[in-house]
Symmetry: C2
Subunit: 359 residues, 2 copies
């Protein structure tokens, strides 16, 4: 049977204060559509995997938000990490859980806070991907054709195509966050794709890969065999999970395994990983401004993002170019978009100087 | 006996949204000192006029704010206008009220929302002013030596000095809001002073002047003779006041009367009539920024005013020069200070388009 694992434990500090630790990006109605990014992710996968086989992986503090936003998800499908250990331990646990429910099960891993605009292409890509990984011991990742030499993404280099399939390639190499020169080379070569963080495999294959390439993590979770998807799973995880090393699935497995493949797709993807990314995919007014939620009265503003949590708030602005205005509760940010990577450091400073309740 | 009339019915739309119709400028703790501008005005006059002879003139909707901010003021000293009719009808009523309590009474009229930094000079000016108006049938206004060719003020041209006094002059002319060229001529001539809206006279003299120069208003309030400062005053005013023509004391009396004098004073005065005025008298950080209330983390901001109603709010800003950032409840303004006169029109637009609860 096919399962879906939605990863929704991120804290989203890049969109502070619009996004908060108490309510990160994936739980926000980013586009004023009435659905949060998580809900949109859930809605999008429902045609491929039914609700009873969609598993939510998140930090304990977000359990109430998940229950509120996805009331159709049964309690046993919400897996709560007792500690933050990056993606590898989460995925290993999810694979163990799924294997306990169906030893032959396959799974797709989805980020909860990305945007996919081409839903039909996404569905087709996942269906083809499931067939591909169900046909052998293969680890598959989705690759997005790069549109710019972005230095914040991981890049996948494709190798030879796979006979009898279209759009599937053996992976030659992974490169995490290249510098700009290298990213430009990648872009012009035509061999490199962005790593969207969407993975498909059978539970059996990924568990085998963990045992081969990240035996320490595999050992932590092997000790729970017989308990997964049962009444003692939570107790076991609460004890064992914190002892797993913090690592990403890319470093732990994907960059080392020999049976890694990429499916190159065109699904209208954005990781919404920055104000710039949000700006690029959002509808804009005639002056290039993006308005999230608020009522804007602007003069002579251009290419500026207004992200205001209070839908009733009126913003009056003049003469701002390439800014982000982010206003939520006890914090207001007025910052040039091009410097947005500095906001993360400021959030840390604010936390240190003024306290947790600001972040 | 000496009385003081504090005018506190203004709506303060120039500082929107920091100042709101529901809580205008005079009721705000503008400087984070713990006292509102009204309270500062009250504190400042107490050495000259005791609380039982300080009269508050305001719009009905502000009565609760006055009771809250000035608990020492007795109910009979709060005069509530049933309608907005500018300053002339208010002052005529106040003079009638004072004359009923003491036919020989004199009075000083004070705006509630101005700043006076030199308290000692202010006290001396008022004591000399009271003596001056108690010595004859004289209408006195305080004149401030202009420091710039401001086009938003009224100017008083002094004439011959008064024998036996220092700093008192007969008034030659009043000019309301001159254009810039004229204001420059005024400034260089040395004969012109800003009209601070602070007036002194005996109740008898100002009532006589109303009968001579604004007989329509005088007639409205003459009909209440015998009722002022008594149990029927409020009923009478509620009926009669709305029929008084809307007019300023300057137009109604000061520009017409022959017995008008100016006392030139140096009292560290600011009308706080604009963000620019606020900026000029406020303490600034090393980059010239003024912070009202909020916690500011700024980079590369200069000569910018941050006026945030929520003292706990953190503002993160970069690269703003000569801006005002004003954030209160359901409205946020990010606007160049030099264009601030346009904010008033925007407030009207906001009111029309989105409703009263925004202003």
């Amino acid at each position: 049977m096919r399962y879906c694992v939605i990863m929704c434990g991120g804290v989203g500090s890049r969109f502070w204060p619009y996004s908060r630790e108490a309510c990160p990006k994936q739980f926000l109605d980013f586009f004023g559509s009435g659905r949060s990014l998580l809900q949109m992710t859930f809605d999008r996968i429902l045609d491929i995997v039914p609700a009873e086989r969609i598993i939510l992986l998140t930090n304990r503090r977000y359990a109430p938000l998940i229950r509120e936003q996805l009331p159709d998800i049964k309690e046993e499908n919400i897996l709560l990490e007792p500690a933050r250990r990056n993606t590898a331990p989460c995925i290993c646990w999810a694979a163990k859980h799924i294997a306990a429910r169906d030893p032959e099960g396959s799974m797709v891993v989805l980020p909860s806070d990305h945007l996919v605009l081409k839903e039909k292409a996404f569905h087709e890509a996942l269906l083809k991907g499931f067939e591909f990984v169900e046909g052998g011991d293969r680890l598959l990742t989705l690759g997005i054709r790069p549109s710019s030499p972005h230095t914040g993404y991981g890049y996948i280099q494709k190798s030879s195509p796979i006979d009898g399939t279209e759009g599937f390639y053996k992976v030659r190499s992974f490169t995490e966050k290249p510098d700009l020169e290298l990213a430009k080379v990648f872009l012009s070569s035509g061999e490199f794709y962005w790593n969207a963080g969407i993975f498909l495999w059978s539970a059996k294959s990924i568990l085998k890969a963990f045992r081969l390439y990240d035996p320490e993590t595999a050992a932590v979770f092997d000790r729970g065999d017989g308990l997964y998807a049962g009444s003692e799973e939570t107790d076991f995880i609460d004890r064992a999970f914190p002892s797993a090393p913090s690592n990403s699935i890319d470093y732990a497995v994907m960059e080392k395994a020999r049976n890694v493949y990429v499916e190159t797709v065109d699904i209208g993807w954005s990781d919404l990983g920055s104000w710039k990314a949000l700006y690029e995919i959002s509808p804009r007014d005639a002056d290039g401004n993006v308005t999230q939620n608020c009522r804007l009265i602007q003069q002579d503003c251009h290419d500026t993002v207004f992200a205001i949590s209070d839908r009733e708030k009126i913003v009056v602005a003049k003469g701002l170019n390439n800014y982000v205005i982010s206003d939520t509760g006890n914090a207001l940010v007025i910052y040039p978009i091009e410097d947005e990577q500095k906001i993360k450091q400021i959030v840390n400073d604010v936390k240190d100087r003024f306290g947790e309740h600001y972040v």
